[in-house]
């Protein structure tokens, strides 16, 4: 209970003064302030005309991202309506079976991958700096790169529908239907297009985690962060652990489709269930990746309209973290009917029920907040209330489907269709609409219409329930999912017709809402600043907002600074916070320590550049061209992407500043350059590699999964890579790793030639290591088409080899940087980041060789 008492104490013992404010500082004159403002404007100005596409600033990219994902939502919504039209009456032939399968596959795929996850990234890219009081995200170009990847991949996947080439195997893509029995490009488009989009999700996750941990306003200790930032941290971490297994699965899947390596082919030692495991290890956390950000939005909205700080801040945080953890232990509840052993069923059933508890805690915290305060009625609160009614019902049916015997009846029936729409529309769409009504003034300076908002709400709420409530019964009466049609006389006719009518009422509500978003608003006056009288930092922003965000960056000492630090707005506007100027002509933001938000660095943030867009185009070529079997062109596109990214890194990251320190104001001077764990780049590498490890461990999981279903494993008649060659390869790679370590050590001593020699030697050792790793399968003539065993061994070796190649490029990059004087004894960020990469590479090498060479030798 201590934490919770702390909660209230926090609110009651508010600091009235600007914490750490130095009243001694002489009042600056108006002319000086205007000059500062002009500097900030000059530095943060967005390019215009066609060059606008080179913009990387979070508020612009965030808006693009938001718009694109809303358009994908509307597209997928129309597909949903087509499904409902087809099912309105029995034996309908509005859509042919082939078309229907494409349409329902795309409905699910687009909603999940192009709307529900990206829109949260869009919201976060757009608003995170405002939430945390920074000027920009740490890697604006990375956000832009992620956006372009998302847009290109999304258009590619959606476009396929118009060429009758769309995926048609369901959004879950179960093999062997999709590996062996669906010719055509559909499955390839799904696999490669979505892998490409997953790259952008992971890019966003890296960006957002570093943004939350390292770019908060000074004083915003981790227990003072707005709840949105907490949820963001949890969700971004979940993306990091959930998406990589799918990427690993996609890799295996594409290897099977393109090269016939039999990972999922039971007749050659594979197992279709491996895909189901990898897919749902991703797929279940995915549900919470979609749901939690929307809860986060609710957590921002409810206190504002209750006029009371959240009740049980720590409980909400713990619940969010708990949900994140539990969500990784539930995936088998999508596989109850596959014949997994009863003991596993019991475990996953219990874990699935357990997740209801943190969810309930969050909901009751919101209700308690409302009870503690005095509610102001508004459209955002109306949508929050609707979300509560819908989501709670979806959650309760979720408790039901987590019970194994019940699930064996309703699994893959319309009951589950009803359940998942209650959870996703109540848990995600309604809060999202609430948030768009709530944040619209912040995003576009104009308020949305209260009247249209209410109309939209009632249409959506009624339409939704009319459409989806009957489906519970439709499912219990035995209607399976994903059927193109059904016969009369089964008792489905009326129910389906009602559902279709409801779907159109829901669509009408969405149309009203969309009209409210796009209706011309030139003649409408700007919204007032902080129109809802909210207490959180993002509402400090001017309306309309400035490209640089806040006039100056404040010290934060409370959870609801606008309520609890009354002087804050004036002090910030008068430029009495940090970074009130842009004297040196750079875009800058503060980097602070992860827990206590102590300022550590004045980060020069990269500005406008076409590089992210060009790199995304070439990366797109790498993923998209293989769909059409244009492997050579794809290879060149990949090389071009690599060259672009190297150019981007060379000219844009870890630049040695001309001035070592920066007076950021309020008597604080910070270094312009830091390296190692203080630097955002190091954190980005760390976080990326954690995701990378997850993908790698998913492949290792694949190896041991086969081990569990085969006896003996490796099979006696299958050649392995032997013991000698893999061990030799491992030894060489570990020596290359040692070379990088020594290079860093020599660099600290400023012994340039030794650094270069070490890096060159490490490059050479990596090449030799790669050769040794390749030798094993070649010498023993492993044939990956013949059986799943050689296929998974070679997949692991390919993974290791690709990483070693990237490691070699990094070594070469550092060598060139050192020779060019861009790495010096004191400016060693690149080298330290590369060493961090090599730590992970060394781990990958050890585990790979232990698995494919040592483990079989020991177990034989």
């Amino acid at each position: 209970m201590n934490i919770l008492e702390g909660d209230t104490a926090q609110f009651e013992g508010l600091p009235d003064e600007f914490p750490g404010g130095d009243a001694d500082r002489p009042q600056e004159n108006a002319g000086h302030r205007a000059e500062q403002r002009a500097q900030l404007h000059r530095v943060w100005r967005s390019p215009s005309g066609w060059r606008a596409l080179s913009d990387v600033q979070n508020s612009i990219v965030g808006r693009w991202y938001l718009t694109a994902s809303l358009l994908f939502f509307l597209f997928a919504g129309v597909l949903g309506l087509l499904v409902r039209v087809q099912l309105a009456v029995p034996n309908n032939n509005f859509l042919s079976p082939a078309a229907y399968n494409e349409v329902f596959t795309m409905h699910g795929t687009v909603m999940m991958f192009l709307f529900a996850v990206p829109i949260f990234e869009a919201f976060s890219i757009l608003l995170l700096p405002a939430f945390t009081g920074s000027r920009e995200l740490p890697f604006p170009r990375l956000s832009a790169y992620g956006f372009w990847c998302f847009l290109i991949g999304g258009l590619f996947v959606c476009g396929s529908l118009f060429f009758d080439a769309a995926p048609n195997g369901g959004w879950f893509m179960y093999p062997p239907l999709t590996t062996a029995y669906e010719p055509g490009l559909g499955a390839d488009i799904w696999l490669l297009g979505l892998s490409f989009i997953e790259v952008s999700s992971i890019a966003a996750a890296v960006e957002l985690i570093v943004g939350v941990l390292k770019c908060r306003a000074p004083g915003m200790r981790i227990n003072l962060m707005p709840l949105y930032a907490w949820y963001l941290l949890v969700v971004a971490a979940m993306i990091l652990f959930a998406f990589p297994p799918l990427i690993a699965g996609d890799l295996l899947f594409e290897l099977e489709r393109a090269l016939h390596w039999p990972f999922f082919d039971a007749s050659r030692g594979g197992d279709p269930l491996l895909w189901q495991h990898l897919f749902w290890i991703f797929g279940h956390p995915e549900v919470y990746i979609i749901f939690l950000p929307s809860v986060a939005l609710v957590a921002m909205i409810v206190p504002t309209f209750a006029r009371h700080p959240i009740v049980g801040y720590s409980w909400v945080v713990l619940s969010a973290v708990g949900t994140g953890f539990l969500s990784f232990g539930l995936w088998v509840h999508h596989m109850y009917t596959t014949g997994v052993p009863n003991l596993s069923l019991a475990f996953f059933s219990a874990a699935s029920e357990a997740v209801a508890i943190p969810t309930a805690v969050q909901i009751f915290c919101f209700i308690a907040t409302v009870a503690a305060g005095r509610v102001v009625r508004s459209v955002p609160m109306l949508f929050v209330a609707g979300a509560l009614a819908i989501f709670v019902l979806g959650g309760l049916t979720g408790v039901m489907v987590a019970i194994v015997p019940f699930d064996t009846q309703v699994h893959d029936s319309y009951f589950v269709v009803a359940h998942l729409h209650y959870v996703l529309i109540g848990g995600m769409l309604f809060p999202l609409v609430a948030a768009l009504y709530y944040y619209h003034p912040l995003i576009t300076a104009k308020r949305l219409s209260e009247r249209l908002g209410r109309i939209a709400f009632w249409l959506m709420f009624a339409g939704f329930n009319i459409a989806f409530l009957p489906m519970h019964l439709t499912g219990l009466k035995g209607m399976p999912r994903r059927v193109q049609t059904y016969d009369t006389g089964l008792g489905f006719d009326t129910l389906n017709l009602v559902s279709t009518l409801g779907a159109f009422v829901l669509a009408a509500g969405v149309a009203v809402w969309v009209w409210d978003l796009i209706r011309p608003k030139q003649r409408q006056s700007h919204s007032a600043r902080n129109p809802w009288n909210a207490g959180t930092l993002e509402w400090l922003s001017d309306i309309p907002g400035e490209p640089y965000g806040l006039r100056s960056i404040p010290d934060i000492g409370s959870r609801y600074p606008l309520w609890q630090q009354p002087q804050l707005m004036r002090e910030v506007d008068e430029g009495r916070g940090y970074l009130a100027d842009a004297d040196e002509g750079f875009r800058e933001t503060l980097v602070t320590s992860p827990v206590d938000a102590v300022p550590e660095q004045c980060l020069r943030v990269p500005g406008v550049s076409f590089m992210p867009m060009i790199a995304a185009l070439f990366t797109g070529g790498l993923f998209i061209l293989p769909v059409f079997k244009a492997y050579t062109a794809a290879g060149f596109s990949g090389l071009a992407a690599l060259a672009t990214i190297l150019h981007w890194l060379w000219t844009g990251t870890a630049q040695i500043p001309k001035t070592a320190d920066r007076d950021v104001g309020r008597g604080l001077t910070l270094p312009n350059y830091v390296s190692g764990p203080k630097a955002v780049g190091w954190w980005a590498m760390l976080i990326t590699m954690i995701g990378d490890m997850t993908a790698f461990l998913s492949l290792i999981f694949g190896y041991f999964f086969f081990w569990t279903i085969h006896l003996p494993f490796p099979p006696v008649d299958q050649a392995g890579p032997g013991l000698l060659w893999p061990l030799l390869g491992l030894a060489l790679l570990l020596m290359a790793w040692g070379g990088v370590r020594l290079a860093l050590r020599f660099n600290r001593l400023d012994r340039g030639p030794a650094v270069c020699a070490m890096l060159a030697a490490a490059c050479g050792l990596t090449v030799l290591g790669l050769a040794a790793l390749a030798a094993g399968p070649l010498v023993y003539r492993m044939d990956p088409v013949s059986h799943a065993y050689p296929a998974i061994v070679l997949a692991l070796l390919l993974w290791l080899a690709a990483h070693a190649l990237v490691g070699m490029v990094m070594q070469g990059y550092c060598l060139a940087r050192r020779l060019a004087g861009r790495i010096t004894a004191t400016h060693d960020a690149d080298l330290r980041n590369v060493l961090l990469y090599w730590h992970f590479l060394a781990f990958t090498a050890v585990v790979t060789v232990a698995t494919i060479a040592v483990f079989p030798a020991l177990s034989r």
Partner: protein
């Protein structure tokens, strides 16, 4: 919120008018397994509805003046009780009740039926101890009150075997054999479907289920086990042979031994054709032969629309006699 509650309250009532009945309704159980689950369903759904109403009432009260007595420490205790304690107790009870239902089935029963999910039909094989297996397609008959063991597999793609009135579903996965025990409680006609998406004809992959008295079942099985006695070597059989039907289909007791498509030995006696999607009579057989794709998209059996109508009619009529 009150209006919302009213709306949500009135819908289920109107829907109940539609009823729970239907040949594949999990709410009208005719098997022990389905009966247990239906009971569980009614209990869980009822409790869920009560909890939902309580949460809604609480949320509405939180916005009114009635809550003035709720002070912060009490609210926090309330969160702990409503969000932590109560769910933990309820879920614990639910798990305690439902997990024992997972117990392994008893000893393997004498009646064993292998069902294989084909594209897109069901190969059904009754394995009698000692005797020759009896193969048929898209139809399962069971004796009431007797436990049958199903051995479920698939040679190609994943399907899911689901007879909602009798038991929950079990997937049919290449490379595996899943088992399912079914004990029908009373006689009647039911319907089974494929529940796992399996491509172009997923919606047309059903089968007829007939629960009979044990005596009637034994008679039926004996009749199915007997080779067919075709009525002479008429024009129908000549057409069957001339068009190569025997390459895919078997008729026990004749030279036709194909095994790609359904065994047609007693096709005339079956309740449906085309995997539970059409009634079994001569006109439907005729239509099926002439345009298989129109009935079952993506079907592997070609249409025989190039044959003269008369020949199709003869063939359909002859198939109808194979009882």
């Amino acid at each position: 919120m009150a209006r919302a509650g009213l709306l949500l309250g009135s819908l289920p009532a109107s829907l109940l008018v539609t009823g729970c009945e239907g040949p594949q309704s999990a709410l009208m159980p005719a098997g022990e397994n389905a009966q247990r689950i239906a009971t569980l369903t009614f209990w869980m759904a009822g409790t869920a509805l009560i909890i939902w109403l309580l949460v809604m009432v609480l949320a509405v009260l939180a916005t009114t003046n009635w809550k003035r007595s709720w002070r912060l420490p009490r609210l926090i205790t309330g969160i702990g009780i409503a969000g932590g304690l109560l769910p933990a107790v309820l879920l614990g009870a639910l798990l305690g009740y439902s997990l024992p239902l997972l117990r392994n089935d008893g000893p393997a029963p004498a009646l064993r039926i292998e069902v294989t999910g084909e594209r897109w039909w069901w190969r059904v094989r009754y394995v009698a101890p000692g005797g020759m297996p009896v193969e048929l397609a898209n139809e399962i008959r069971l004796p009431a009150g007797v436990t049958a063991e199903f051995l479920l597999s698939s040679p190609e793609i994943i399907h899911s075997f689901w007879i909602p009135s009798l038991a929950g579903k079990v997937d049919m996965i290449p490379g595996r054999v899943n088992r399912l025990h079914i004990t029908p409680t009373h006689t009647g006609s039911f319907r089974g479907v494929c529940a796992e998406f399996c491509g172009s004809a997923h919606a047309q992959m059903a089968f007829a289920v007939e629960v009979m008295t044990p005596d009637a079942f034994q008679q039926w099985l004996a009749a199915q086990a007997a080779p067919v006695v075709p009525e002479g070597h008429g024009a129908g059989e000549r057409a069957f042979a001339a068009n190569g039907c025997g390459g895919c289909h078997a008729i026990r007791g004749s030279e036709h031994r194909g095994s790609i498509g359904p065994d047609l030995t007693h096709v005339g006696s079956r309740l449906t054709i085309a995997a539970g999607t059409r009634s079994n009579d001569v006109p439907e057989l005729h239509r099926w032969l002439a345009a298989t794709e129109a009935v079952k998209p993506g079907v592997r059996m070609p249409s025989y629309s190039m044959l003269p109508e008369t020949e199709l009619a003869v063939l359909a009529a002859w198939l109808g006699t194979l009882e």
